[in-house]
Amino acid sequence: MSPVRRVLAPYFLILPGGLWLLLFFVVPMVTMLSLSLQEGDIVNGYAFTGHWQTYLDAITAYEEQLVRSLIYGALATIALIVIAFPVAYWIAFYGGRHKPTYLFLLLLPFFVSFVLRTISWRQILTDDGFVLGPLKDIGLLGSSFHVLGTPFAVIAGLVYNFLPFMVLPVYVALERIDPRVVEAARDLYADPATAFRKVILPLALPGVFAGVLMTFVPASSDYVNSAVLGSSSTTMIGQVIQAQYLTNSDYPTASALSFTLMAVLLIGVFAYARALGTEDVMKVAAR
C-alpha cells in the first residue's frame, strides 16, 4: 500500500458513515435551525433574518404545553418501570422454556399500527361505549363522567404504547444474571428480599436506565396519544409542533419549538446520566 493511500485510508473508512450522518442528520438539522431563525409567511416565503425573538415568543406562548409534556413523560416513565419490571422479572426467572413465547405475546399487539391501536382505545373508552355505557346505565357513574380527554387517558396511552421499550431492556439485563450469583447470596444467609435488593436490582439497573432513555424521550415528544385520547386541556408540545408545521405552515415557530424541546430533553438526559450514571447507581446499591 502506498503511503498516500495509507494516509487517506481512514478517511475512506469513515466516508460512508460520515456521508450518512451529513445527509440525514446534519442537513435536516441545519435546515431546521435556519428555519427557526427565519421570518415571513407561507405565501411570500420565509427569509433568513437571524430572528432569535421567535424562540422567546414560542416558549412564552407554549410554556404550559412544554412543561405538561415533560410531566406526562415522567409520569408515564415511572408507571412503565412499575409495570414492566415485574413482567420482565417473571419472564426472565419463571418463563422457563416458554420465554420466547411470552416475549412474542408481549410484542404481538405491536404488529398493528401504533395509531390504529390508539384509536381502538378511543372506541373502547368512549363516553357511552361498551365499557362506560353500562356503568352509567346502572347509575355507578354520573352521565357526564368520562375517561377520554383526561390526563389519565393520555398517560395511560403513553404507558400502553411504550411498554415493550421498557420491558425488553429490563428483561435483557435480568436474563443475563447468573443464577449462581443469587444462590450465593442465599448461601450467605441473605433472605429473598435482601438478595433481590442487593444482587438482582443492582444488576438490573442498567436495563432500567436504558429503558428510561428509550421511553422518556419519545413519550415526552409524542403527539398521537394526546391527539387521539386527550382534549384541549391535555395538549402536548408534539401536537403544537405538528400543528404549527402541518396546519398553520408557521415553520419558524415549529422549528424553534422543536429545538427548544430537543435542548430540554438533552439537558434532562445528560443530567439524569450524570446523577444516576449506572456505575454510580450500582456502587450506591451495593453498599
Partner: protein, 418 residues
Amino acid sequence: MPPSPRNLPDPMVRGLTRQRLGRRDALRLSGLSALGMALAACGVEGKGNPGASAPAADAVAKYWAGKTSTKKVDFACWPLYMDPKQPELKKFTAETGVKVNYQEVIQEMGPWFAKVQPQLSAGQSIGYDLMVITNGIQFKQFKDSGFLAPLDHSKLPTFAKNAAPAYKNEAFDPGNVYSVPWASGITGIAYDPKRITRPITKLADLWDPAFKGKVGMFSDTQELGNFGMMVLGLNPDKSTADDWRAAADKLKEQKSQRIIRNYYDQSYIDALGKGEVWITQAWSGDVFQKNVSDGTNFKFVIPEEGGTIWTDNFAIPSTAANPVDAIALMDFFYRTDIAASLAAYINYVTPVPSAQEQMKQDAAKLSGDDKASLEDIAESPLVFPAESDYAKLHYYRDFATAAEQQEYQRIFEPIVLG
C-alpha cells in the same frame, strides 16, 4: 492497516472519534461561518403575488392552451358533502364518459393547504384536478400563491345561466376568476336533545357550566374566533385586533373552566354521535345528514346573536392533470336537476335558485314520508335562505394583508393548541 505511529490518522479524523483540544478554536470559527452561510442559504421560497386579484388578460388563454381531456377527474372534497352513492357523479360519467375519482380528503382548510402547498410550490400535481375549498385565510393563500387555475368562463355556460347573482360577485373572488361555489353553509350550534332538555337558543349556551366537559368548538381559527366575537356582540366581518383579543379572552375562559371538551375538525359530528359532546359548534347540513344516515335526532340552531355564512368553492389546482374535464364537471353541477339532487341530500345552501322549483316538482311525484321530507327541504331556510334569514348571518373577516392575518392567527392559535 494497523496504525503505526507514523501513520496515525490525521488529527481531523481523530477529532471525530475522540475528544481533542488542538486547533479546536480554528475549527470552531470556520465551522461557525460555514454554518452561518448554510443557515442563510436555507430560505423558504414563497410564490407570493399578492394584490394581483385578477390575472393578466391573457392568463386564461395561456393556461388553457393545449390542455386536453384524460377522461378521468380526481376530485378532492369533504366528508358529508355528497350522497355516498354519488348519483350526480354517476350521471356525469354516463353522459360524458369521464370517470370521477371522488375522495373525501379535506377535513379542515389549514391542514389541506399545508399538505398540498409543497407540491404546488414545486409545480407538481397534487393528485387532484378539482377541489372544494372554503373562503377564508387559506383561500386567499391559494389565490395569492398562484396555486389556482384561472377559469375559462366560455366553458361554464350553465353557471352563467343558473347561478344566483349573489354568487357571481362574492368578496373573496369577485367575478369568479378562480372559483365557483359548490355550496354555502351556516355555522351554528348543534345539540343532542336527549341529553339537553332545555331549548338552546344563544351562543352563551356554549359557555354554560352545566355542560362542563361536553361542549365542542371548531379548531379552525376563523370559525372559533367568529363565535368568540359574536358572543360578545361584535361583528367578525368588521372586527379589529382589539375585538380579536377580547374574543380570545372569552374563549380562554371557556377553556380554563374546562367547559370545552375539545376543538374539532369535521370529526365533531362523530363526537356528537358518540355522546362525547352534547352541544357543539356545527355546520348546518352535517347535522341533517347525520340524522338521516344514523337515525339520530340532533338539533341545529342559528343562535340569536347570529351565525356565520361561508361558501365552499370549486377550484382547479394550477398543476391539475385534467383541468378540461374538471371544469366540465363544475359546470355540470349548475344544472338545475343536479343542483336540486345534491342540495336535497346534503342540505346546504345551493347557489342554484331554480333548484327549489325543481325540488317541489320532484316532491309532487313522490308520496308519503319521502314527499314530506323533500317538501320540507324545499322550504328549509338552511337550503334556500330568505332575505330575512341573511340578516342574522355574519360573513368571515377578509384579511387585507399577510401581517394582519398573522396577527389574527397568533391570537387564536394558542387557544386551539391547548
